[in-house]
């Protein structure tokens, strides 16, 4: 019973790591750099989701149009993913494109600085007050013989898996996806063959940021207290998941995200919870010792793998 309950807990918690890790992985495969501002883009996505949801709820209560609650949530996710993808493209244009020829370390530092700018910018804009994420759908708890599941938990896991699958299909089946894979193969030669590097870079950032926004809204649904620094810790941990999955691997990032969620939850189940992160991340370290390139990573290659 406890095991089953924790399995559900872990599925929900892993969903966030998986969605955020995807963004890290994609950018790495195309541009060979980790976008360290990604955790903060997740935060911006959550706040944009908060704004969109509040606006939609306000319009509905004012009587501008009548929307059922679930539709408000769906629209919030779609609009916020769209808007946050622009944030991602701006970050790429302002922060990374001017530094494309610069040493990798400079570009990585840029990410950290953009992250701080996003955090403190939000702090200046909205203040340090915690924001309560609007509850668009009422929580229904189902009691399945001692195991408790809420409608929100089911939705979070289903939406995350759907998004990961959609991304997988996009990369495998579309022309843009093909271009991304080609670029991941060799980002010096492929642009010479007519694939526009800047467009591809912008698109990768847009996709990654849209996924981060979706993660942000789902996070707000599950843990309805937002603050400007909410993206730092989860961003780091998702970064661990991206490495664990194998740099540049879409499937790997998803699986590793869920795995990380499982490790964290089950370590806390078995051991005293005080030691949770200590033991959980020692396990991760141990995995990396034996598989230094992660689960789906290959040595000396950054190909975008499926």
């Amino acid at each position: 019973m406890v095991l089953l309950q924790n399995l559900i807990n872990a599925l929900q918690w892993g969903s966030f790591y998986a969605l955020i890790a995807l963004g890290y992985s994609m950018v790495y495969s195309i541009l060979m750099l980790f976008n360290f501002a990604h955790g903060d883009i997740f935060m911006v996505g959550a706040y944009i989701g908060f704004g969109v949801a509040s606006a939609l709820i306000a319009l509905t209560t004012m009587g501008a149009f009548a929307l059922p609650n679930w539709l408000i949530l769906v629209l919030t996710i779609i609009f916020s993913m769209f808007l946050t993808s622009f944030v991602g493209m701006i970050v790429e244009r302002v922060g990374y494109r001017p530094l494309r020829a610069a040493p990798r370390a400079s570009a990585a530092i840029t990410g950290l600085m953009i992250g701080i700018i996003l955090e403190t910018g939000n702090l200046a804009l909205l203040g340090a007050q915690r924001v309560s994420f609007p509850s668009m759908v009422d929580t229904t708890t189902y009691d399945l013989g001692g195991v408790f599941v809420t409608n929100k938990k089911i939705m979070i896991v289903v939406v995350s898996l759907l998004l990961a699958a959609a991304l997988h299909q996009f990369i495998r089946r579309t022309r843009y996806g093909m271009a991304m894979r080609a670029m991941a193969f060799d980002y010096v030669v492929v642009p010479l063959m007519g694939v526009p590097l800047n467009t591809m870079a912008a698109m990768t950032f847009a996709l990654g940021s849209a996924l981060a926004a979706a993660a942000g809204i789902l996070f707000g649904v599950a843990y309805p207290v937002l603050d400007p620094y909410m993206g730092i810790l989860i961003g780091w941990k998702a970064f661990v998941a991206a490495i664990l999955g194998g740099r540049g691997s879409i499937m790997g990032a998803t699986l590793a995200g869920f795995l990380l969620g499982f490790i964290e939850i089950f370590v806390a189940m078995i051991f005293p919870s005080t030691l949770r992160d200590l033991i959980a991340y020692s396990i991760v370290l141990l995995i990396l010792v034996f598989r230094p390139h992660g689960f789906f990573g290959e040595a000396y290659s950054a190909r975008l793998r499926l």
Partner: protein, 392 residues
Amino acid sequence: MKKGVLLAGVIICIAVVAAFYACGPKGPETIKIGINAPITGDIPKVGEGTKYAAEMWLEDINAAGGLEVGGKKYKVELVIEDNESKAESAVAVTTKMITEDGVLAIVGPQASKQAIPAGGKANELETPMISPWSTNPDTTKDRPYVFRGCFLDPFQGPVVANFVRDEFGFTKAAVLYDVASDYPKGLAEFFKEAWEKINGPGSVVAFESFTTKDTDFSSQLTKIINSGAEVLFTPQYYNEVALIVQQAHQLGWDKPIVGSDSWGSAETVQLCGKDCYGLFFSTHYAAAGATGATKEFIDRYNAKYGYVPDDVGALTWDSMRIVQQAIQDTGGLSGDIKKDRKAVRDAMAKIKEFDGITGKMTFTEEGDPIKCAVIVKISDTGEFEFYKSVCP
């Protein structure tokens, strides 16, 4: 060569300006009081309450034309600094206020996580500091220069344990707390000790923890729910209270959840919503049903800032007035900041009985007040209702 000259010039300029700044006019005409508050960070509402209460106090002083000490009127200035709710920033802020701003006394930090290290610094630099809200014993322990305006956790822990036992008759309790923060950690341990004293060893059936910034407590809560506990005690700050209570309910917990004075923020109910209705916590004062000077303070604060002040605001107000009384009790300031700080410290240690808006208090040798605690119930409309009073 040219560059070198330029650089030297710049350095000399900076040195000269700095020297002027340091020896600048530091007349005894103004009294500076430092306010060390968490304006940003994890608990911004606490910082806001601190700032507002301090500014209201300053208003009164200004309205009276300054603070009268030994027959002379002084202008009072507040040095309000943000400690970002971090221990290291609180120490930096304390050092800056004492060495650069030349404050006579400091009010704050509020949370024990910041107050314990900052108190060490203030004591070392021999400047009186009073923390309005820090309930952990370590804040004032063996520190003659550090005081506080509230009761202590070794008192609060048993208060909560006894209340739960008397009210519900439970014998098995669970605790969930942040292991990386001094206040919840200390109080969780005091509660455990008190609970096991009443109900026998092993009666705390789950003692679970997490670290600051965690948002998912599902694993710990699953453990607690399956431990057979009848009540959950969680001495956390308002942002975590909302998450813990909601997640507990979603995981099927329908028994009481009890909290401590850190719940008493105006924002707890706002973030937590209906999930928190009907829960109990121990605190310093209850706004609903207040009388006399307490009511006067609440009404004034509410009219000025648009919400009922929480315990931090009330305790800060009391602490400001304790500082004021200590300064006035010195009988006159010499202008030598070091001597004056010592005089204020001595005067503060001599305050025997103080009639504050959070109750009457007497001070012990350690600089800790002895005062009553209040059990508050969150009503079905989300208001903090007085439930009962517990005195030492």
